[in-house]
């Protein structure tokens, strides 16, 4: 009688442990898929941050969810880190004008500040709008 009860308890404990192992596998697997634990190429394929920034600049009409824009911000940071130091301000100007860090909406006042920092002859709104148009390859 008591042996039967012990067996039942042991079986129940094993079942719970097994359920825990499966739950842990589920959580760990999902976390590995969504975070940067797996090699980047598993998630991104042949895409690179610079290519994604290039796409956003080439196709200004792209509509994307806020999460996608948030990821693009980190791509911009990665692309920025690959730029030469003397190109950074011009890169930032293009990024601000094309709204790559603001959901696709141009950041006019930031762009004006950057433009003045570059010492360009004209940084008024019509000039910035023209630069925005011209920055489309």
């Amino acid at each position: 009688m008591s042996d039967d009860r012990d067996d039942d308890r042991a079986r129940t404990r094993r079942r719970r442990t097994l359920a825990g192992v499966y739950a842990a596998a589920l959580v760990i697997g999902y976390a590995a898929g969504t975070t940067e634990f797996l090699p980047a190429s598993v998630v991104t394929g042949t895409s690179t941050p610079l290519a994604r920034v290039g796409l956003a600049l080439r196709d200004p009409g792209l509509t994307a969810e806020p999460e996608a824009w948030a990821h693009l911000r980190s791509d911009v940071a990665a692309a920025r880190s690959e730029s030469k130091p003397d190109e950074l301000e011009a890169f930032d100007l293009v990024v601000a004008l094309r709204g790559l860090e603001s959901g696709g909406h141009p950041e006019w006042s930031r762009a004006e500040t950057l433009c003045r920092g570059l010492g360009w002859q004209r940084c008024d709104r019509p000039a910035l709008e023209e630069i925005e148009r011209r920055s489309q390859p």
Binding site: G33, V43, T46, A68, G119, Q121
Partner: protein, 163 residues
């Protein structure tokens, strides 16, 4: 079920499935920026990777001062190498438009012509196209060289069918 299957293979399969779901979700979160670049061939990817530099060069060309323009174009030329003839020719034409010496302009135009032979006989047209998208001097007007034609050096590339 064998204990090895239940305790090791089963959890591994579950973890792999969950990782697949996680990867799918991570891709979906990145939206069209990843979806449209994830399976590009090398040439297409390289072309997209060149876009930021080209955007910068175009922006600088529109309103930037001469030193910034020269630096941006030279960086673009280094990046381009010998590929993409028309883009290279456009960059050289821009340098030609801001060059102050007649000889320098002629040499740069010859180099542009070598990079893209289609502009050799349409020098003025090609120059005007670039001058039109520059809004500050110098470079927003054609020099006399464009009106009178450029002197051809002995090694200048002749377009097909050119006498």
């Amino acid at each position: 079920m064998a204990p090895a299957l239940r305790w090791f293979v089963g959890p591994l399969l579950v973890a792999a499935f969950a990782a697949g779901v996680g990867v799918f979700r991570a891709r979906a979160e990145r939206g069209p920026f990843l979806a449209r670049t994830a399976s590009l061939g090398e040439a297409e990817r390289k072309a997209l990777e060149a876009v930021p530099a080209r955007s910068m060069a175009n922006a600088v060309w529109a309103f930037g001062p001469v030193p910034a323009v020269s630096k941006a174009i030279q960086a673009e030329l280094v990046r381009l190498g010998d590929s993409e003839g028309p883009v290279r020719a456009r960059a050289l034409l821009r340098l030609c438009l801001i060059d102050t010496s007649f000889d320098g302009q002629a040499a740069l135009f010859n180099a542009a012509c070598a990079a893209d032979t289609s502009i050799c006989d349409r020098m003025k047209e090609a120059g005007e196209r670039e001058a039109r998208v520059r809004f500050v001097a110098p470079g927003n007007r054609l020099s006399l060289m464009f009106a009178g034609g450029h002197p051809r050096g002995p090694d200048a590339v002749q377009p097909p069918g050119h006498p």
